[in-house]
């Protein structure tokens, strides 16, 4: 489904006029239509990469806030010019920063917040508030307001409508708009805050936008790994419902591994794992650590030690030792591997290997490989005597917005228990 624009042109209003206008809209103009009693979605939408790429003329405007394929292609092409390693993913915040050092002064139209992904609008958000920081830190605050109704084919025939509010400006102006945002969030409805950017950004805005009990959506692949994990852990510990898109993108890996052990004849082997290896793209280990932590938690392993190791790759590797419930040691290695064509987000999984040594049965070696990568390293060495179970893990083809829509459709008001269990273990696995 292609994203849709709001059905009416957004109205540019002074900030102090926004609330009175919305009140008028719902009590007079849209009389007879029901405001959907659903949720508020607040999106922090800097789209730094897109803004920078448009500014230097590598992609055409307008700025939409959506991850268009031409934007990703142009970003991949720009990686070598910035001096970053080839393994740098297009969404790596370092790339946007490096492109920011280049000359260029294109000033396209900015439509952030005005495109509503059909999958999201199908859930009929009552209010969609987008904060769109500009490259120019001194840009004054602009507030745009529009009502919208989902199209009939999206199930919008009941005319349960919502409204869209866009706050655009420099960081200083946006900080001054926080009171306005507070007044726009209806406390009687659930509120989701989607931090659609790097977690390395100054924390005041995140703190202000996403207090408990608002449901927070982050992406732990964007930002310095320790900071990503610590922030996630702190929020979960504080009782906030945290959803991590990086964790959600692990879905196909978790599903594929679970499938290997669905046949009851293989179940017993899960109690006899002796080795776990995970290869990740580039130098961002969080996704690999979350996968390892999930496995360890589900199988009841206890972490003994974890340390960084120098390897011939784009970053340090991680080696750890777990203890199984029966006291036997499990060796874990996370290896960063260079990639010529990395996936969109940093630290995508390339492959994983799980070796089990059940009693009185031949060892079992499970190798799962990413659809787009090779697993030569994991497939090499000493497995001739083992029962081999190999699988290819499909790449999820969904955009960020589709992932977000999936979250909204779930309606979960607490952190997934699996993520809540895996996050602290992943944080412990990260050395230093």
């Amino acid at each position: 489904m292609s994203p849709q624009l709001t059905l009416q042109a957004p109205l540019d209003l002074p900030p102090e006029e926004v609330n009175p206008y919305l009140h008028r809209l719902w009590t007079h103009d849209l009389e007879g239509s029901t405001g959907a009693a659903t949720f508020t979605l607040v999106v922090w939408e800097p789209s730094w990469l897109e803004q920078q790429m448009v500014r230097i003329g590598r992609v055409d405007g307008p700025i939409t806030g959506l991850l268009r394929s031409e934007l990703l292609d142009a970003a991949r092409q720009a990686v070598p010019e910035t001096g970053l390693p080839y393994s740098t993913a297009p969404m790596d915040p370092r790339l946007a920063w490096a492109i920011g050092q280049k000359e260029g002064n294109h000033r396209p139209e900015d439509l952030r917040g005005q495109f509503v992904e059909s999958a999201i609008s199908a859930h009929m958000p009552r209010r969609l508030i987008t904060l769109a920081p500009t490259l120019d830190p001194g840009h004054p605050l602009e507030t745009l307001v529009a009502a919208y109704c989902p199209l009939p084919e999206e199930g919008g025939a009941g005319a349960a409508c919502g409204d869209v509010v866009v706050l655009r400006g420099g960081m200083g102006a946006l900080k001054q708009s926080l009171d306005l945002i507070g007044s726009l969030v209806d406390d009687t409805l659930p509120c989701w805050v989607w931090w659609n950017s790097s977690l390395d950004e100054p924390s005041e805005m995140l703190e202000a936008l996403a207090p408990v009990p608002r449901r927070l959506v982050i992406d732990s692949s964007l930002g310095e790994p320790r900071r990503c994990l610590d922030l996630m852990l702190a929020r979960i510990s504080a009782g906030q419902a945290v959803n991590d898109l990086n964790w959600l993108r692990l879905r196909t890996w978790r599903e594929s591994l679970a499938m290997v052990f669905d046949p009851p004849s293989r179940r017993d082997a899960l109690g006899h794992v002796v080795q776990l290896d995970i290869d990740v793209e580039g130098d961002h280990p969080v996704k690999g650590l979350l996968l390892a932590a999930w496995i360890a938690d589900r199988l009841g392993w206890h972490l003994i030690t974890s340390y960084a190791v120098e390897v011939d790759g784009p970053g340090p590797g991680i080696t750890a030792e777990f203890e199984r419930t029966d006291g036997v040691a499990v060796q874990f290695t996370l290896m960063p591997v260079p990639m010529g064509a990395p996936k969109t987000h940093p630290g995508a999984i390339v492959g994983m290997r799980l070796i089990c040594e059940p009693q009185q049965r031949p060892p079992l070696c499970v190798i799962l490989c990413s659809e787009s990568g090779g697993c030569m390293r994991l497939e090499s060495g000493g497995m001739a005597s083992m029962e081999l179970a190999e699988g290819v893990v499909p790449l999820p083809e969904e955009s960020e917005e589709m992932e977000m829509a999936r979250l909204l459709s779930g309606g979960h008001d607490s952190t997934s228990p699996l993520l809540a269990a895996a996050a602290p273990l992943a944080a412990s696995l990260l050395p230093g």
């Binding site: 978790r254 669905d262 179940r267 589900r298 979960h412 699996l418």
Partner: protein, 507 residues
């Protein structure tokens, strides 16, 4: 180390949709279905963390129980389950309430409304309500009227009504009931339940057909010669004589369960996985279906009734000897029939449906028999090559099986049939949820995909109208034929297929 019984990596993997804060109101809460199926299903949902914390169950019936008595009775019915999940039960039971209600008494409805408002405040259920009519079928219409009269169905977004089967006794009564129900609530609020559709394997028919490319191109008259749908029970009428005497196998099993399986097996591919798209296709195929001989239905249908049987050690009474059954009863406990689907895909392909009580095995299955190879090149070990068959096993031993010919080992070129089998147990090793778990969750989520729409119900009744009319008006033309308990039905049922040169599959 002890063997791992469940797959620990599977736990919590499905990202389930979460049900909105909700109060489910069960009318007929003192009845059998509530403690046998509904409360266990809701407790299962609670244990799977699929119910929100803002959740309540309000049991309603005429008996003057208190909340505490209702909790105790439900707890007693689930004693075994609770023994291993006591803490969960204690939390769940806090959300169980009871209100004595007679749906025919307007003042009771007023009181019910007030009670619901107080539950909304106590449990933060936000006015979202699902009313479950687990009452005698003659009260479905009046129950809906009473709820609508009290304004409890006025909010189409927040109130739903679930209606148990049977929905009507025939085409006319189903139409009349639909009119009443639709005058009380929008179609989107009405959930007509058929618990067969909650079964994993019934839903799997859709996935097997429409998620694979190998089946759909051959799923038609060019490749399939016949289809058999069987739902066999080993049990007799048990304690249901009162109901069964007036319904019989045709109304109890065929019009709903078997017809739903027929629709899923024969429908066209929906444009998208969307409740209305799926129900449109089901309704369309049922509208194309008819008895193979509508003018003379006795020629395409067999009715039977089980007679005494069993073994010397464990003799089984005949239907007429069962408690509560008329000694001269002509109610059928077995029915077999030939149905035609008059559309482009299925023209000329007979669909044989059969169901019965006190048969040798408990099973439900769909058998698609493919056309024979045009030329028999090889000797067949069995004398003649066995036609390819795809068998979808709905219960027990859920799965699928494909029969095809291979070369028998040894010199020469003899063929013999083999099976390629898929078993849910072997592949997944996890018990699937009881049908009511899935269906209750879907109803509370407002997802009608697995519920029957008004036009589907009417089309299903219309299909059997000639037969029902015949049984009503000239039953001697289609008498119930006795069959010995624990046999595969009357001989005439075999004759029904023999006329087409076919035999029933012996599972």
């Amino acid at each position: 180390m002890t063997a791992i019984l469940t797959n620990p990596l599977r736990v919590g993997l499905r990202q389930e949709r979460v049900i909105s804060p909700q109060c489910i109101v069960i009318f007929g809460a003192s009845g059998d279905l509530t403690h046998r199926k509904l409360i266990p299903a809701l407790f299962e949902l609670f244990r799977q963390r699929r119910l929100p914390s803002e959740f309540a169950v309000l049991g309603c019936a005429r008996r003057p129980w208190s909340d505490e008595e209702f909790r105790e009775k439900m707890g007693a019915a689930l004693a075994d389950e609770i023994a291993s999940h006591r803490t969960a039960w204690e939390q769940f039971a806090q959300g169980l309430f009871y209100e004595p209600v007679d749906l025919q008494q307007p003042d009771h409805l007023v009181r019910l409304g007030q009670r619901l408002e107080s539950i909304d405040r106590l449990r933060a259920t936000r006015g979202n309500r699902t009313f479950y009519l687990s009452v005698s079928p003659e009260f479905y219409g009046s129950g809906c009227r009473a709820l609508a009269g009290a304004g409890l169905l006025a909010d189409a977004e927040r109130s739903r009504v679930v209606i148990e089967k049977p929905f009507g006794r025939d085409y006319a009564s189903a139409q009349a009931l639909n009119k009443v129900v639709q005058a009380c609530a929008k179609e989107s609020q009405v959930f007509r339940i058929d618990h067969y559709l909650g079964k994993e394997t019934v839903q799997n028919i859709l996935v097997l057909r429409f998620a694979n490319t190998i089946f759909e191109p051959i799923w038609n008259r060019n490749y399939i010669s016949s289809v058999q749908i069987t739902a066999a029970e080993t049990v007799g009428v048990e304690e249901r004589a009162g109901y069964y005497e007036s319904s019989g196998a045709l109304r109890d099993m065929v019009q709903n369960h078997l017809t739903q399986i027929l629709a899923l097996t024969a429908m066209e591919a929906p444009g998208r996985f969307d409740p209305e798209a799926i129900r449109n296709e089901k309704a369309k195929v049922l509208q194309s279906a008819s008895l193979a001989n509508e003018e003379e239905p006795w020629k395409c249908c067999v009715r039977g009734q089980y007679a005494a049987g069993g073994s010397m050690a464990r003799p089984l009474p005949g239907y007429r000897q069962e408690p509560g059954v008329n000694a001269n009863s002509t109610t059928e406990t077995y029915v077999a029939m030939k149905v035609a689907i008059n559309n482009w895909r299925w023209q000329g392909v007979p669909f044989y449906l059969r169901t019965g009580k006190r048969l040798p095995k408990r099973l439900s299955e769909v058998v698609l028999t493919f056309r024979e190879a045009p030329v028999h090149l090889f000797d067949a070990a069995g004398g003649a090559p066995t036609p390819n068959q795809l068998i979808l096993r709905i219960q027990p031993d859920e799965g699928a099986e494909f029969k095809f010919e291979v070369k028998a080992p040894g010199s020469g070129m003899r063929s013999r049939p083999v099976d390629m089998a898929f078993s849910y147990d072997e592949s997944f090793g996890e018990p699937s949820d009881e049908g009511y778990v899935r269906l209750l969750a879907d109803a509370m989520l407002g997802d009608p995909t697995l519920f029957t729409r008004s036009d589907e119900v009417e089309a299903a009744w219309r299909l059997y109208t000639p037969l029902l009319a015949l049984i009503e008006e000239s039953p001697w033309q289609l008498p119930v034929q006795p069959y010995e308990a624990r046999t595969w039905g009357p001989a005439a049922a075999d004759g029904l297929l023999a006329r087409d040169g076919l035999i029933w599959r012996r599972p």
